[in-house]
């Protein structure tokens, strides 16, 4: 049973903490399940449409489950001019998915993120919580294999 009620209680059933509640749920379940939205709506007396608006506005939240490995390629300006797009293009080829998509086997989600604040080691990529700096297209294959992934071509 999902313990959404506990999350509401953890944040003192206070409406101002809706974003924090949704983020906890996102971290726990890798997305925001519909049940969670209904529970929050009912417990906090907030219309479902407002919660849906929040979940679609904030990009750290997703309504559909993400892959086991979430690859975030930084496209901040410093990374961009150090050719982060090439990294993205190579990853698209290697994994067969576009940014925002998840591979069919649920292994990888590819995303762009706008500046991780590690501009000095651009171009930067994060897979789950691990940072990779000065990434080149040549290094990508090895990094992906490290994550237990095969080339999905």
């Amino acid at each position: 049973m999902y313990n959404f009620y506990d999350i509401v209680k953890k944040y003192e059933s206070d409406r101002k903490n809706i974003l924090a509640m949704l983020q906890d749920i996102q971290r726990e379940y890798n997305h925001i399940p519909r049940e969670a939205m209904n529970v929050l709506s009912e417990q906090l007396d907030v219309p479902l449409c407002k919660l849906y608006g929040m979940a679609t506005f904030y990009k750290s939240l997703s309504l559909r489950p993400k892959g086991r490995n979430v690859i975030k390629v930084c496209d901040g300006t410093a990374c961009h001019i150090r050719s982060s797009q090439l990294i993205m293009d190579e990853l698209e080829k290697l994994l067969g998915i576009k940014p925002g998509e998840t591979s069919r086997d649920g292994e990888f989600t590819l995303e762009t993120v706008n500046c991780l604040g590690s501009c000095a080691i651009a171009p930067v990529m994060v897979i789950n919580e691990t940072y990779y700096g000065k990434v080149t297209p040549a290094k990508l294959r090895d990094i992906i294999n490290e994550c237990g992934g095969k080339d999905n071509e």
Binding site: L61, T77, G117, C119, A120, T136
Partner: protein, 608 residues
Amino acid sequence: MSDLISAEKKKILVCCGTGCVANGSMKVYEEFIKHLSGLSDAAAVEAVVKSTGCNGLCERGPIVKIQPDDISYFKVRMEDVPEIIEKSVLDTKVVARLLYHDNTTGKSFRSHKETDFYKGQYKIALRNIGEIDPGNIDDYIERGGYSALKKALFQLSPEEIIGIIKKSGLRGRGGAGFPTGIKWEECKNSEGSPKYVICNGDEGDPGAFMDRSIMEGDPNSIIEGMAVCAHAVGAEEGYIYIRDEYGLALKNMSAAIQEAEKHGFLGEDILGSGMSFRINIVRGGGAFVCGESTALMASIEGKVGEPRAKYIHSTKKGLWGKPTVLNNVETWANIPEIINKGCEWFNSIGAEYGKGTKVFSLVGKVKNTGLVEVPLGTTLRELIMNIGGGIIGDRKFKAVQTGGPSGGCIPEKYLDLEVDFHSLESVGSMMGSGGMIVMDDRTCMVEVAKYYIKFLSEESCGKCVPCREGLRQMLNVLQGITRGEGKESDINLLLEFGEMMKEASLCALGKTAPNPVITTIRYFMDEYLEHILNKNCPAGVCKPLTMFEIDENLCRGCGICKKSCPADAIRGQLKAPHSIDVSKCIRCGSCIDICSFKAIHTARGAEK
């Protein structure tokens, strides 16, 4: 170098800012702990190892410093640790190969303070970062931490505090540059209660990471600054809004607040003064627009981050409609120093249109990339060519983008510009959060403009027509130009939309969104026309409009480019001229960068 073994405790400072951690500094730190605990009691030296925040020169991390000997080591690996301990901790020698080497002059430096990167800097906001363990409040206190709060609570009245901040000339470091003292005064004089104090840690400008470093490396400086303000304006509750992507900053700030509460610097009846102040952390949700102050407040209130018009200042009606002071991380970090050292001191640093210092993130095509703090009034040339060490690969400087997506691209002719709030605006850019992105001749300015507009079109809240529809149209035009479908009328169209957005958008995101486009058109018109009329990208970036060619006459057939090509697009026998297969080439430019004979150049794109 002295032969005497120092009787003082040795401090080993290992940088654990996000940049160095990505390069493996945690392992270095743990290795130090392991080896030091294994030292026999017979060792005559006492040593302690600390993990610190970002040292700024992330390019050369992991960075390890030895105090009090003032030795700085760069690109340290786990394997180097036993040698460092043997030579620099148990003895007073240096490990020469780990010192800072200047590749141009061939010189080595014992201390980082002697290097071009660090010696031009003057640290106020970054004063403690890299010198203290951010998780240890005693480190902060040892360096004068919380003395400003004590002074504010027991020696100064709220009016006096506001007077000091006003006279110091401090202006907001987040982007708008509003005079901080006046902001505090407006809030203090506003009716309504409770009042709030907010820290904007939603650093979203791509290319900027100064706020991250301060939140990770010296969280107490922010807490102290906010507490001083709370006392001055009469607030009892504060919020620190931290970007979702900054995991370490969230962790360190949360721990620092708990420690500060334990020590009586936050909470009820602070230090017996009768004043109460508590701080909550709010985590962002992945929305750049939440860096805009009214959107940030909406987000704290539990709503979507849509800005509202600022006809009534937040200092009158802000968070939940109450008087609120919202300042940026770097602004807060300056406050304790100003209270301690006085407004005349701060006023004496800097320029006419910008007192004190500013932290810049010097990134992009510059050799020494990292965070630098310099007095305002320092020239762009000083920053980029001296401190930054010039362009990577000694290529040609083309432009520097300041102020993030709200700023503009500044060309070579303004390199001697003295950086302050006014001068940057006078050339069409702005200070913004301090991002300074250096571009060379292999950067396409049209592509840069397109990049920023794409970024903003995704980050715009979408509420008002000028911004939402204007960005959509501008992006469409710029994508057309970089695909080779540009028309002459496109330039005027971009300017028409840009001018309208500047005047009619609801918030600062929309109003400043056209700046990168307007400045690139102003200063790089030739490049736009090259794309539009000749369907050519001179910088060799826009793929449909460019290709790379190897000059047969210059090529020596060394084969290095072939090895470096990630797409296997280069053919050729050893010692014979090589050639590039245009159909395989991904235009990454690795070959151009690596060719010692400058035999590879950009040429017009293949005809469609």
